[in-house]
């Protein structure tokens, strides 16, 4: 349409200047709009325009005017040459044009592919990969419905838009294939416009790109799993060696004491007999504590700690721990500084006892004899803050966090026995209570701190029934 208008306007201009121009010049000038038309609208309109121009040239500019008859032999030559040149130009320009279009299409595909692979780079999550692939294909194909199915350990389907697929089978199915086999497929519904070979090829490339990304993600996950396994294997070896060493110490004492009691070395009325029996008893308790620690640790590790919360009185817990530890604490002075007004706290009584037992026994182990171990508690905002401080050796700043790690021992390990589990059990229990635990160096020693919330699911302790009557 525009081609016709262009020819008409050019013809008008030439017509007005007809007297000033000769026929040959007009024919030459006509080649300009012809070239433009072919360049703009392609080969078909170009050739058509060539024929129309041929007729207008003949009709308006070759004498006799306003007829298609030609009198001068020279004019015939002009017309024939013009037609040949016009057609040849049209074809040449048109072919160049088609080549350009193909190149542009290829470039667009390359860009889309580039965008896809950039988007997929570094993705470890198959859901994200699937979402990107589905969105890209859906947008490019302008499909009415698209379904992406990914197999694997946890297969999933991604649908665009999110509704039930059409009743009919999909127009195109592209498998997502990698070296390991088929990882899934893209199902595409598009009825209005048939899917061209070029599009199929493009989607196939998209699918293989995504297959690579999926495979990479799976491999990365497998690798990190392998690393975790290796780490836990290393830990287990550490546990075994630490545990068997720790268990053997009390066992040796028990065995030595029991066998000498059984044999004839110790006479029945010897005072050594009492010592040996006491050693067996103490070491059996020690052994029991070690096994208990191991059980606690495995429960924390498997996330099966589940505190049984109840409203408890902190001084009661501390009191029963201190009563039980009386024998261990003979060399130290224990001070308790807990205000009478401290509210009830929602904790598991037994687990909280465990925390105090471990923190206090740790303090007793490392702090020199005749020093003070102080237990202090205060309400701070929404939680209660408890501090167990001792006058023992300080811990280097960089190790303050690590002493709560499993099997981590400070350099004094050779002096002191223990599995290196006590503090990490404390951390497990406190964290299961939504609290926080940390250690800090204080002026004359080391302090363990922890907080536990004062509320239970946001609630304060229920009011007690009134009981004011005295008998």
């Amino acid at each position: 349409m525009f081609a016709l208008m262009l020819i008409a306007s050019v013809t008008t201009v030439f017509f007005l200047l007809r007297d000033a121009l000769n026929t040959t010049l007009v024919a030459l000038l006509y080649l300009i709009p012809l070239g433009i038309i072919t360049a703009l609208w392609g080969l078909g309109p170009g050739i058509t325009s060539a024929f129309i121009t041929f007729l207008t040239l003949n009709y308006f500019f070759i004498k006799p005017y306003y007829t298609f008859t030609v009198h001068q032999p020279a004019d015939i030559v002009i017309l024939v040459v013009f037609l040949m040149v016009a057609v040849v130009i049209g074809q040449l320009v048109g072919r160049a044009q088609a080549g350009l279009a193909a190149a542009t299409a290829r470039e667009r595909e390359a860009t889309q592919l580039y965008e896809l692979s950039t988007a997929l780079t570094g993705l470890q999550d198959e859901h994200a990969i699937g979402r990107i692939l589905a969105n890209q294909v859906h947008a490019l194909a302008e499909s009415e419905y698209l379904e992406l199915y990914i197999t694997g350990i946890e297969p999933f389907v991604y649908q665009l838009p999110e509704r039930n697929p059409p009743e009919r089978p999909p127009e195109l199915i592209v498998p997502i294939e990698a070296a390991r086999g088929v990882l899934g497929e893209i199902r595409l519904w598009r009825a209005e416009q048939a899917i061209s070979l070029r599009e199929q090829r493009l989607f196939q490339t998209f699918a293989s790109q995504s297959a690579l990304a999926l495979e990479r993600a799976w491999l990365a996950r497998a690798e990190s799993r392998a690393r975790v396994l290796e780490e836990s294997d290393r830990l287990k070896t550490a546990i075994l060696s630490s545990v068997s060493h720790e268990l053997r110490t009390p066992l040796s004492t028990i065995k030595a004491a029991a066998s000498s009691l059984r044999g004839k070395e110790v006479s029945w009325d010897s005072p050594a007999r009492v010592d040996l029996v006491a050693a067996i008893d103490d070491e059996a308790d020690h052994l029991n504590m070690l096994v208990g620690n191991l059980l606690d640790m495995s429960r924390i590790e498997s996330g099966a700690l589940n505190p049984k919360r109840e409203w408890n009185i902190l001084p009661e817990i501390i009191g029963s721990v201190l009563a039980r530890m009386k024998r261990l604490a003979v060399d130290h002075k224990l001070e308790v500084d807990v205000p009478e007004s401290l509210p009830l706290i929602p904790v598991d009584y037994v687990q909280m006892e465990q925390v105090f037992t471990n923190l206090i026994s740790n303090s007793l182990k490392y702090a020199p004899a005749d020093t003070v171990v102080c237990i202090r508690a205060r309400v701070e905002g929404e939680s209660v803050h408890v501090q167990v401080s001792n006058q023992g050796p300080q811990v280097p700043q960089e190790d303050l966090e690590r002493i709560f790690d499993k099997f981590y021992r400070t350099t004094a390990a050779d002096r002191v026995t223990g599995t290196g589990l006590g503090l990490s059990i404390c951390r497990g229990i406190i964290e299961a209570h939504d609290g926080h635990i940390w250690a800090e160096n204080v002026a004359d020693g080391l302090a363990f701190n922890f907080t536990v919330p004062l509320t239970w699911d946001g609630a304060l302790p229920p009011p007690l029934p009134m009981d004011t009557e005295a008998e």
Binding site: D281, D296, L344, E353, L464, A470, E471
Partner: protein, 234 residues
């Protein structure tokens, strides 16, 4: 020997059975052993023991089920044995009728103390309602259950109604463990059976009035995760 108390031990570990048999026989008890729940139930019915010691970790039956089935027909005291950290099982067994518990590993003194308490309570139960008029003494504390008088030394201790009810229940069952639920049900009523905070607060008040050092009680003892135990003079 035939009138010596008879103890039935139900435990699946042969080493434990061997040790128990040796020690308890040495202490002049008659001992019968069973290694399975069903066998234990049969022996309980045929040998009529005075005390049953029951391990909660039997291979063929839940310990709680053994307790329930025993309590269907007998009031013989049951002392349960279990490992640490199974408070829920212990409480369930105690609330279904077991009388006391011991956590493995335990000392023989503890076992014998439990056995003595269980025997005394079962004797009281059989000997009509004699226990009602009793006076319980624990160190400087005297509790007259019939007259509702509590003294510390020569001085009378003023208790509120609830405190008195609580102390009376503890003292009447002295030596025995009482679960949170059983105390709450007995003192406050069935509807308050899960309000352990009442117990915490009232026990603290009682300790302040009765114990020399309320933080380190000698008579009103906490059984972590289970309940309380009142220790009186034997």
């Amino acid at each position: 020997m035939s009138n010596a108390p008879h103890i039935l031990v139900i435990d699946d570990e042969p080493q434990i059975l061997r040790a128990m048999r040796t020690i308890l026989t040495e202490k002049q008890f008659r001992v019968t052993t069973a290694s399975r729940g069903e066998e234990g139930l049969t022996l309980a019915a045929t040998t009529e023991p005075d005390i049953i010691i029951l391990d909660l970790g039997l291979p063929d039956m839940e310990g709680v089920e053994v307790c329930t089935r025993l309590r269907e027909w007998t009031q013989t005291p049951i002392i349960i044995l279990s490992v640490r950290d199974s408070e829920r099982d212990k409480v369930a067994a105690l609330d279904t009728g077991a009388d006391d518990y011991l956590t493995k590993p335990f000392s023989i003194e503890e076992l014998l103390a439990r056995v003595r308490v269980a025997l005394r309570h079962s004797a009281n139960r059989k000997g009509a309602q004699g226990a009602q008029s009793k006076v319980v003494k624990a160190g400087p504390i005297t509790i007259d259950l019939a007259w509702h008088i509590v003294k510390r030394g020569e001085e009378e201790v003023k208790l509120t109604g609830t405190e008195h009810k609580l102390l009376a229940y503890l003292a009447a069952n002295h030596g025995r463990v009482l679960t949170h639920q059983s105390i709450l049900t007995h003192v406050w009523g069935q509807e308050d059976a899960d309000h352990t905070e009442y117990l915490r607060v009232y026990m603290r008040q009682l300790r302040k009035k009765l114990e020399a050092d309320p933080e380190r009680p000698q008579f009103i003892l906490t059984e972590p995760g289970i309940g309380y135990r009142f220790i009186a003079d034997e």
